[in-house]
Symmetry: C3
Subunit: 265 residues, 3 copies
Amino acid sequence: MFEARLTQGRLLKQVLEAIKDLVTDANFDCAATGFSLQAMDSSHVSLVSLMLRSDGFDHFRCDRSLSMGMNLNNVAKMLKCAGNDDIITMKAEDSGDTVTFMFESQNQERISDFELKLMDIDSEQLGIPDTEYAATVRMPSGEFQRICKDLSSIGDTVIISVTKDGVKFSTNGDIGSANITCRQNTAVDKQEEQTVIDLNEPVQLTFALRYLNSFAKATPLSTSVILSMSKELPVVVEYRIAEIGHIKYYLAPKIEDEEMEENDG
Amino acid sequence: MFEARLTQGRLLKQVLEAIKDLVTDANFDCAATGFSLQAMDSSHVSLVSLMLRSDGFDHFRCDRSLSMGMNLNNVAKMLKCAGNDDIITMKAEDSGDTVTFMFESQNQERISDFELKLMDIDSEQLGIPDTEYAATVRMPSGEFQRICKDLSSIGDTVIISVTKDGVKFSTNGDIGSANITCRQNTAVDKQEEQTVIDLNEPVQLTFALRYLNSFAKATPLSTSVILSMSKELPVVVEYRIAEIGHIKYYLAPKIEDEEMEENDG
Amino acid sequence: MFEARLTQGRLLKQVLEAIKDLVTDANFDCAATGFSLQAMDSSHVSLVSLMLRSDGFDHFRCDRSLSMGMNLNNVAKMLKCAGNDDIITMKAEDSGDTVTFMFESQNQERISDFELKLMDIDSEQLGIPDTEYAATVRMPSGEFQRICKDLSSIGDTVIISVTKDGVKFSTNGDIGSANITCRQNTAVDKQEEQTVIDLNEPVQLTFALRYLNSFAKATPLSTSVILSMSKELPVVVEYRIAEIGHIKYYLAPKIEDEEMEENDG
């Protein structure tokens, strides 16, 4: 039996919005440690990893580890029917073929249960090695979202360059080019407005903007985003979800040969 | 000569929005008692009945009963040009072929008149017998609208079950099933937030969600909706319009044979 | 070298939104007097004329007159990437083939530069004679915008009639007809809510609504619009941009033969 109750049901709604455009079908893994998901996007280019720790739920019970295959669009459809202030409880039998989402309004006057059919999904869990990164940038998540969106109107890829003074996002397209520079800024009082750079060595990597735009759908989950980068390694785009977990996206940088091929195509 | 003046012109705008998706062309009936309309929807499945009593208007004159055929989309187009705070006056000659909508801004600085060509529409007035219903539910109209919309993302039909404790809305679809229960709740101070059940005997009926969604377009007209149901009889979905009248929708329940046919098709 | 800095960067964004739907490609002219543009719309029916005076900028330098050909949609794309409170600086070399738009956030923490490729565009400057007009109407720009939009739902052309008491906008269409009258009104305190008519002789002219709707895209630039009209002359629809300049649209009236041809077509 699996049962997990979250007073801040809105978090679950936002989590689904943050991954459903990237991943179509995926297994959610329930274990004593928490509720998690790891999946490649449908074009097998990026990876998303979600962890909601059991201690972050208001009630969490998982007698036996379970892997529940779901179509994320269908989950999102059901969670859209929860009010933003509803309490959400997820429930599943150990050997059942459904998962139930229960929504309670705060005054208990409306109670809904939505039962979703589970599906069998093949998946393999990838081991992601813990790495020390050459550069880490923490910046307002809304700023990162807007930069990715703005640059997408000019070009398809972004070059992210981190130095000790700031982080520069650059693109190139048919109509011209663009550079947006955010300076390191730790002076403001509010942590969520800070741009903080932790640098071992300067790094410059190129990424496809459309994946970063998909990752930025997680913006409502956190006021800050953390970008971790090293030469030739996938960037990690991380959103921490207050007191319960995180969602991390991994995307390999483009290397020059790839870019050339793309331009030929 | 027909002339009717309504200070709260916004009501007329909302009335049109509440019926124009259901009915394409219809006759508005003007009589000494008021301004009314009765029409089947274009697929002849549901019926809408509007009554605006003459005493609810700020000025009302109707020398001779008139039946004025209008395309409701065209009426809605014209009424959209009235400001929300405009005073609206409708005018027609006894044997004319147009109706005029006059809009006055509150400071009288802008005056508009929109003249619509009338059309000949065949229609027969159905007699709707007054019935005692097995169950009546009064609930917040916004809640009803949201439930119908939410369930439509899962299934095509809704089973409405009323007991003395509450009303349950259930659906079934390819991806799973859903139940939403609203408990009877007369404790809250504001009448418009109450859910009140008046029960002679428990009733359970099945309806096509798409019609209920159309009916729910009347939500801005009233904070409450009243559902009246009896076994094998059409449900009445009623929105009372403060101090002037009402709009009532009638929809026959689905019976099992019908459902089977649909599933076969 | 051309360089122009505008603290109220939002004005430039709004200017582009006001002309990009009407004009595809156009030359911006930089001179010691200011930054200007004059262009016919793509169907060669209306003319738009923009003037931003050099003294309205916070910094303005123009060593040599320049004519810079740009695709207005591409300029608009870039300016959309400026925040509403950003300071915008335009820069170009005398013989370069690009223009740079630089955006600075108010706290200087984000600096963006967008470089647009220039294009060669043939254009001829039309001399517009200064004329005394038979009638001038100053009215709230939002009111004018709404009237043009409302009448477009009924007909394709508008007859504007100015008398000493007010201005009347009329249209005719398949479903009926409409008249909207705005009375002269100089009593209200706020100049931007006034409707003021300056009349030498009554005038009545017919225009295509779709051009007026395009002109009304300039509404965010000014609380008032000024319509200047004389018999058989193009109307001037003018939006004054506080302390820096104006945008003027010219549109020839329809004459009866034209209308007939249209109705035949």
